[in-house]
Symmetry: C2
Subunit: 241 residues, 2 copies
Amino acid sequence: MRYELYYWPEIPGRGEFIRLALEAGGADYIDVGNSTEPGYGIEAVTHWIDGTMTDYPPLAPPFLKAGKEVISHVAGILLYLAPRLKLINDDKVYQYWAHSLQLTITDFVAEAHDVHHPLGPELYFEDQQDVAVRRARNFIDNRLPKFFHYFECIIDKNPDSSMYLVGKRLSYVDLSLFHMVQGLRYAFPNAMAALESEIPKVIALHDHVLDMPLISEYLASERRLPFSEKGLFRHYPILDQ
Amino acid sequence: MRYELYYWPEIPGRGEFIRLALEAGGADYIDVGNSTEPGYGIEAVTHWIDGTMTDYPPLAPPFLKAGKEVISHVAGILLYLAPRLKLINDDKVYQYWAHSLQLTITDFVAEAHDVHHPLGPELYFEDQQDVAVRRARNFIDNRLPKFFHYFECIIDKNPDSSMYLVGKRLSYVDLSLFHMVQGLRYAFPNAMAALESEIPKVIALHDHVLDMPLISEYLASERRLPFSEKGLFRHYPILDQ
């Protein structure tokens, strides 16, 4: 099975949570938006969203095409992919628990995005910078520690492991948490530097993922797209005071 | 099986999406936060969140206890419940599609909430009212029509039905869309009055759900909690110009 990941080109964005799972699972896949192969590229992404290709159009990328199936939203795609890529225990109880955690990461991602777009995605950052500064203060003081302390607690309480979030082995949720650390270090280096000593298990998990052969090879490849101020995690120094 | 729904008392909130499924599915359940039975009530909710009851604490309500399983987040709970309550086709393809739509509703809910709390949930509305007015303008002009037009399109394209979102019969996603109409009519009566003629299939689905015997009986009961300015959908006239 060759999976097709549909996402905007040139940014890691929400697509990165899917790429990390595909890479760590050793999957055969094509990153459609970034492909120069005939029939792929950004038009292939937009034609699925505008409904010309399907009776079941997603509202937005990312979505995954797996044979005839089309599945959208990060948490939905990972729910589908993880058992197939051996990135979650076969036991359904673990799968529901992992999905619950991934949905918490969904909320965390939305808040990390909304820091720079508190009035909505239709307006440029420059047109809402005053509000973003106020929202960033609350994000750094309250929301950022709340989410990371929660995941620290989840690793700490995991009866099956002292390293991972779910079960005895690496799961896709670990990869997503790894990416939250990566993205938030990029966007808020000062805030993260001040917080990291409080979340040693989260950081140890991050470092462990970083050292995984398939992941370190991916991160060094051209398939890994750089963070930028066009993406989900944006570094605006004025928001990271 | 007696399901236990854990959610904050006195408000419909995010718990309402679960209540509607439990009611439409004819399930035996207890609304723990609102119960006066011994061992229930708000303390039972908070003890699960603070981790004293479990190694697998949710970050926040709602969560569902089903025997030994604890499942959190609206979309995760509905994914689990719907096949058991016959609120989705048994075919996995339909279940993934319904879950994708429910995750789009998750995003819609988050935006409907953030209109009145654009700087974050830690601050009172009164302390962010100026920003809320700016965000509400964007929500009403762009986001509200975007989401509802999308769901109108999904009903329109459904090859199996001219009434429902997924498949031939009512599914849990229909119930959630019904509640979006109810909540947004409460919060933004002017904006909804202006929009509704553009989304006739969404409104027809809403009216159909309203007339279902189990739902109309529920809505007339004391189990149905009223909307208020403590909840997810809030009516502040200044935001609905």
